[in-house]
Amino acid sequence: MTRTSFAYRLDQVTHFFGDKKVIDIKHLEIPKGSITGLMGPNGSGKTTLLKLLAFAIPPSSGCIFFNGRPEYPFSPKIRSKVTLVTQKPYLLKRSVFDNIAYGLKIRQDIKDLKQRVCRALDSVGLTFDQFAFRQWHELSGGEAQRVALAARLILKPEVLLLDEPVASVDTRSAALIRTASLAARRDWGTTLVIASHDLAWLFDCSDTQISISSGTLFATGREIIIPGPYIPPEHPGQAWTKQLEDGQTILLPARSGAAKTAVIRQENICLGTTGETSHEIDNRIKGQVQSMHLTGQNRQIMATIAMGEMSVMLGTATDQAAAMGLQPGTQITLLFCSCNIIWR
């Protein structure tokens, strides 16, 4: 067997719910030991993709290779290497100890069980004495999510898939979940795929970012999806448009073929003031800086900017951000040309 540096390779993978195609991936490779950030609007296919990667559901067509081998039908052996933490944690109706030990028990790997459960609880910031023998219904949402994560971490999985792990938990739990998840790669070389709306965290911790919309991947993460619905032109020759909830309109280029998602690369968007003009720029969309984050990789400022219901993340150098006086709450204009928007 040939050794491969990729944990996953997906080739021509599609998945349908009834007649609706929810996943359409031509090609995707996820390196071993990497952290991949998966971002996209609700209903874009993130959860379905994670379920496919967890071998919880088979794809409608195409092939998923794991460690270089095509996987289908899924064996318990392959499922034992990959684990998924869902957004809404489901705990078995038993004690915290039994929930965490479940995966090891079904593997009949019960050596030093108590110590291992203790370490798993400790890794998510819960003490053994206080929590191990609580029942499933005696936990808060954040504690339940941490127990669910501990139940996966105790397995030392090859791949840890996280579906919005911090979406509905308190700040302290979110911080502990982030730390414990990242420790899995540091300690065991676990491959992580994280789906989250917390773009700042994703950009900070992940090696690769993937955007997904309508089941289609945009593999660099430097592409911003302008989600539909799109309004077709009333007359031929006029522009397609996207109406934001705050009343602003984004002009789009003519739509071609079966393309269904409008995308623009981050480098084609300028942050500016409303006074700036250019013949090429036909979109001037006002937004507000929601948050700013210093990324660990390029020492860039990543600013999350809300425009109507859309939220985009743009990087800028620290000195440029300072010169523009960027801070959370700052009103800013995003300048870009519709000709730089492409249909995928």
Partner: protein
């Protein structure tokens, strides 16, 4: 009113002095109902799980049939079992008519649809995240089956208790298949019917009190399980 009071006093006397006929009926009732429940659970739990968990052609029709059988009159079950185990029936050679085994067979048939229907309904209502959680923890098929049943154990137990209540209090099957033979196939319910007809009100009341006590215990269990 006075004869009810006298009946109650005599009933307490019969129970305290361990009246053989009374305790024979209690013993027969507990024996047949326990055997019937064991058999109906053994067959009904896997069948109910399969009906609730898997999707297959004809599932809806089977569910309709099972739901219809929930309302099966006990005399109809008695009639069917009687026809099967009487000397002219297909199981006539086994000499099961007027035996506790025959009654247990009928009561199994009575309890089976209840166990299947409640297990299927409970399994159908399992949180869809449970299976995903189990798969993501590396569970194989048999782990998923076992854990799913364990997760809905209170719902299934409630179904079993409901079935036990129905079996315990039925009279049609015991009367038709058992024949109400004293010290042999006489159960609490058939004894109550007979003693009351004979005017032995105290004996009937003693047995009635026991039956109510058992039914009360069963319902206490059911109430407790429903709270879980």
């Amino acid at each position: 009113m006075e004869f009810i009071t006298q009946g109650f006093v005599k009933a307490v006397f019969l129970l305290i002095h361990l009246d053989p006929a009374t305790f024979s009926a209690i013993s027969a009732t507990l024996k047949v109902s326990t055997i019937a429940m064991a058999l109906s659970l053994a067959a009904g739990l896997p069948a109910g799980f399969a009906l609730g968990y898997f999707n297959f052609p004809g599932k809806r029709h089977i569910k309709t049939l099972v739901d219809t059988l929930l309302a099966l009159p006990t005399v109809s079950v008695g009639l069917i079992i009687y026809a099967v185990i009487s000397s002219q029936g297909p199981l006539g050679d086994l000499n099961l008519l007027f035996t506790l085994t025959g009654i247990a067979m009928g009561q199994t048939l009575l309890a089976l649809p209840i166990v299947i229907a409640i297990t299927a309904a409970t399994v159908e209502n399992i949180d869809s995240d449970l299976k995903l959680t189990l798969v993501s923890l590396g569970a194989a098929r048999h782990h998923i089956l076992r854990t799913c049943l364990w997760e809905v154990r209170y719902g299934i137990l409630a179904g079993a208790v409901t079935a036990y209540g129905r079996v315990l209090t039925e009279v049609g099957i015991s009367m038709m298949v058992g024949g109400n033979i004293k010290y042999h196939t006489r159960t609490i319910t058939t004894a109550i019917a007979l003693e009351t007809n004979k005017g032995m009100f105290a004996d009937g009341m003693a047995l009635g009190m026991v039956l109510i006590a058992i039914a009360f215990c069963v319902n206490i269990c059911l109430s407790f399980l429903r709270k879980q």
